[in-house]
Symmetry: C2
Subunit: 218 residues, 2 copies
């Protein structure tokens, strides 16, 4: 499985790259500048002590990836989709991991887009033939990056294409100690994105960095 990261040089992108590469997937970090992507890939490979991750331009990454994670900050998501619109292959699955959040008086709050959720906003800006799936939104970059620590949590996956959702669940299932759960249609992202807000709140309240969710009873 060839996994690409659009804007993958930030903490979330590097965390995903590390976990997927450690699980044996072919991972390509994309960036506006190929050299920056190369540096991020080199940093991740040093962590894994294995040259499994490549870095290149977003254009080249998009040309060769089957599943692409949108790993830019939420505020840059639409601009990135507009900028690389013509580079997507038809049939690509775009996994939106972004969360619209702001801080008011030091407290995290959900910044609900008019579309209903960040994922639904993203879905309005992908080219035809690209399916949007929301996943990994509620898993903190910090927890992803600690590859030696089992995640022991669930990956809530939602999207309107059952086929695309299944493909992302299969990809998430490659990562040991991570259980993918089918969370339904894309609009369920409005729940999952808010859970990220709660996780950020709990991290602050309890002075931790890796709050994430496990659904018991399933």
């Amino acid at each position: 499985m060839r996994i690409g990261l659009l804007g993958g040089t930030g903490p979330e992108g590097k965390g995903l790259a590390l976990r997927f590469a450690a699980a044996g997937a072919q991972v390509v970090i994309g960036s506006r500048l190929g050299e920056r992507a190369g540096a991020a890939a080199g940093e991740c490979n040093a962590r894994l002590a294995s040259p499994l991750i490549r870095g290149t331009t977003n254009e080249e990454m998009l040309a060769e990836s089957e599943i692409v994670f949108l790993a830019v900050p939420f505020g840059q998501a639409v601009a990135a989709l507009v900028a690389y619109r013509d580079c997507f292959r038809s049939g690509t699955i775009l996994v939106d991991v972004t969360v619209p959040m702001r801080f008011t008086d030091g407290l995290p709050a959900y910044a609900q887009p008019e579309a209903g959720s960040g994922a639904e906003l993203v879905a309005r800006h992908v080219p035809p033939g690209v399916s949007v799936v929301a996943a990994f939104k509620e898993i903190p970059a910090h927890a992803l990056a600690e590859v030696e620590t089992p995640l022991d949590c669930d990956a809530l996956v939602c999207g309107d294409s059952r086929e695309a959702r299944d493909a992302v669940m299969a990809a998430a299932g490659l990562i040991p100690s991570l259980r993918p759960l089918d969370a339904g249609p894309l609009k369920m992202a409005s729940v999952i994105e808010r859970m990220t807000v709660l996780a950020v709140y709990l991290n602050r309240r309890y002075r931790r960095r890796g709050a994430r969710f496990r659904v018991q009873g399933i």
Copy 2:
């Protein structure tokens, strides 16, 4: 600790009564009709093989309880608060466990009140001197009622009075295998109520009844 249940003859009320009584708390089930509350209490006591739970009218329950769980369906919450407004003791903590939810095409959806969340709507209708805390919203009645099965999950507790929140966390902490977590101000209920919608979805998707949440990394 004296725990009362306002409208406690439904599944959520009985589930809470069972768990708290099994943990050694004094529990009073309230109902519009005292005899109906008595029947529910008898049913619960038979389950526990111990006469720990009493049933009486909502008026009498309110006169003697320190923590009162609002355990009616969400659609009846405001009417119940209006009906029993004069019966609340000053200093009572009201724990809102209701969730505004509807079903569209067989799928659960959040029915967001104009107040922001069900808990914030409830808070607008309590008499002065009563603090509102949201808790147990995301724990299914079915899971509560299975007293022999460890819950192994968290109780997300939010409210604007730190003192009231701490009291409810202390109460929740009486229940073995349930970890109370401080989820912040009352408006965080808009996240937690939506998590209930996700849990209901997951129960349907995976043909289970007890989906509930555990926060890992805290």
